[in-house]
Amino acid sequence: MEVRFHQQIYNKGAITDALEAYSEFGTFDTTKDGDYIVVEISDPDSDFSAVLPQEIANYVLANVIEGRRD
């Protein structure tokens, strides 16, 4: 499974921060694909695999918004 973050909306720092926060719940690999930063999720925690991509997306979004307020 993967999550695609548009670079005009999300920033790299917010994504890195989120992946660190969720490092216990899976293995992540980050690549670039045009305008997108793509996060590949492997070996997700079985209890959270259904919502892990969405939770990461929310965390990244919150990071971006809170970063803009500083």
Binding site: V3, H6, I9, D35, E55, L61
Partner: protein, 185 residues
Amino acid sequence: MSTPEIFVVDAEKGRLSLRLKKGLYPMDAIYGAAYVLIDRSYLLLDKDDDGNVLVHIQAKAGKTDEQDLNTLAGDFANEALSQVLRSRVMREHKTRIESIISQAVAGGLGISAGDDLGLDVLDGDEDDLDFLDDPLGIAVPWEEKFKRSASEERPDTRDDGTDSPQPTPADSGGFQPVKPEGPSE
């Protein structure tokens, strides 16, 4: 195209996607609206080739029907509009708001504009003051402070060494005829 346009609804998975026309909502308003909904839905923002912003929303609540999703979409659109208005009000009244806040903070500290707190006394070499020291004379009782000056102003208590008679209640200014001076007949 209505704005925001709902272009994907998947009630089974509790997902829908909105398209917000480019330039209609500033990004700050979209971020603000997303932040408000982030506790009850999963959000992923995206852009299409025309620069329109796409908002993918998935309800966190387990079971959702199409009406719930439409409500969620409506809430997002309303909040985005509210954010636009809020930022516009903030921009238009920025100076006034800053002025009110600074006055309120100064009032809370007991300072009014142009006040001289007289704290210069505490500057410089006075750092070694004991807690009993009172350079500003705050601890002097009222009676002690005003006793001397009050007695100085009262003529009946003045002690200037002369033998002037003390005024009595009879000296209240009654009629005192004066013998006219002039040629007598």
